[in-house]
Amino acid sequence: MTIVAQAILNGIMTGMLIAIPALGLTAIFAVLRYVNFAIGAYATVGAFAAWYVNTRFGLGVFPSALVAFVAGGAVGLIAEQTALARLRPSGALAVAIASIAVNLILENVIRFIFGNDLQGFDLPIARDWRFAGLRFGPQQLQTAAIAIAIMAAVFLFLRFARFGKAMRAVADNPDLGRLFGMDPARIAMITVVLGAGLAGVGGVLLGLDTAIDPMTGSRLLLSIFAAAVLGGLGSIPGAVLGAVMIGIGEELAVLVLPATYRSAVGFATILLILSLRPAGILGERNT
């Protein structure tokens, strides 16, 4: 029983790590209606930016994460404006394919600048706490707390803030938004900054837990997608739910299956859920 409880706990922790970039992916999808494969590279950019200011200027976790948000957002915005935005009339697929190219380019720009070596944050590491036979990582708790705070902030922003509501409105109907004084191009830009920035923060949280290299984000791309799709692309709470479910599913699977098939379990989970609910758990349905 304890083993299962521990696995679920571990799953939630792992899920929190992919929830933030999944949130970014789903936010961009909600407004711009395309699947952004570059989200992996945005996460890597954020991680490297934060690492740079952390190791170079000794900034702590929170200011570093802020830098990551800005860096991820800025790179996302530049990529959107130079490479992706003009393709929107050609359809979501063209933009998605272009974002694969952007991912490849950004990953290699990082490689060009920083090389392939592993880089680690200059932050202390703590042993886990034990409670009722279960293991909790203070760092993971901190990560989870940051993740939950970000999710709540995003949720409240979209629900109550003027710009947040405008984002939802433009996601729903850009032409109508324009009539009421919303500039869809500007809203799209804000969304991209938010989404790519979140991916950047996700990259930092990941880097804190592990170590970073140019492929940090790309390696997790499939998990991020799985989470967002499972929850229903475009649904903010869905992304978080999907991430946690994938996390728990994978950790539980390790108990019964060879650990090498972990990713396959995530994949099987999304196939199963999608065959029952083709639009994901909290996805919008058209009919």
Partner: protein
């Protein structure tokens, strides 16, 4: 240099088969298959394993086609209800699972060691150079045959239904078309072609391993089809050869950037691949040879 050219052309032919496969499923019914590398792998492993077990090569390649097609049918079953963007992600996952199985089921695939010593047709008889030339001819003939078949299909009533499904699948059912059947047949055929490409690749290289089938190859094929023109077989064909030549040409850039570290030159090469894809999408969104829709026949009696 000449044998390099022969090699590059042979590889271009194998890429062309993959591009034709992708074009059929993507340009045909509009399903985005990001798992191309997976079907490529299935064909390569199937043919290699049965050939090593003693099955004659033509039969082994045929089997690779069939097993690839079966994998395609399986994939369609699993994904038939999915929206386009979900399908893309699920097929991406499919390729990863194929790679994982190839990596971990050592009893079948020899795991990460890969399978070496795959029989190559007439290699002993022809010698290395003779074989390479023969194989180029073999691959080219197969590419030509598949291309002609794809073109015929593109212009046939079947192709017309595919295009209709691509444009609006719900409406196609109200035109009386069994969308599921058409999708399944198309996916099977497409996966079969990818499987054939895999078989040809395995027997050409005589060695395959899970590392061969990384997602990057799928990106190359998307680049090929996008550059050539989605929805037109000749576009896919031309695009594939262009991509291979482009990939090889970027090698010689290293000689220009001598001041850079080797890792940086490698990074620049991959950046160039990405930029090429972006340029094609921006400058020729329809590709070099855009899709054409055949006109109605003109009867002499028409006014």
């Amino acid at each position: 240099m000449l044998s390099y050219l022969i090699f590059t052309l042979t590889l271009g032919g194998i890429y062309a088969l993959l591009a034709l496969s992708l074009n059929l499923i993507w340009g045909g019914v509009g399903m985005v298959n990001l798992g191309l590398a997976g079907f490529f792998a299935v064909g390569a492993y199937a043919s290699a394993l049965v050939a090593i077990a003693g099955v004659p090569l033509p039969l082994a390649m045929l089997l690779a086609c069939l097993i690839g097609a079966a994998a395609g049918i399986l994939a369609t079953f699993a994904t038939i209800r999915l929206r386009g963007d979900y399908l893309a992600i699920v097929t991406l996952g499919f390729a990863e699972v194929v790679r994982m199985v190839a990596l971990n089921e050592r009893w079948l695939t020899r795991g990460s060691d890969g399978i070496s010593g795959i029989p190559a047709p007439f290699r002993a008889e022809l010698g290395v150079d003779g074989f390479n030339l023969f194989y180029l001819a073999l691959v080219s003939v197969i590419v030509l045959a598949v291309f002609l078949t794809m073109r015929r299909l593109d212009l046939s009533p079947f192709g017309r239904v595919l295009k209709a499904i691509r444009e609006d699948q719900e409406l196609a059912t109200f035109a009386g078309k069994s969308v599921t059947r058409f999708k399944m047949q198309t996916f099977a055929l497409s996966a079969g072609i990818a499987g054939l490409a895999g078989a040809l690749y395995g027997h050409f290289q005589t060695y395959i391993s899970p590392d061969h089938f990384q997602p990057l190859i799928t990106i190359y094929i998307f680049l090929a089809v996008t550059a050539g023109g989605v929805g037109r077989p000749v576009g896919a064909l031309v695009g594939a050869y262009l991509v291979v030549f482009f990939l090889e040409a970027t090698r010689f850039l290293g000689e220009i950037f001598t001041v850079l570290e080797p890792g940086q030159v490698a990074a620049i090469r991959e950046i160039l691949v990405g930029l090429a894809l972006l340029c094609v999408l921006h400058l020729r969104p329809q590709g070099i040879l855009p899709e054409r829709i055949a006109p109605a026949p003109k009867p002499e009696t028409s006014p």
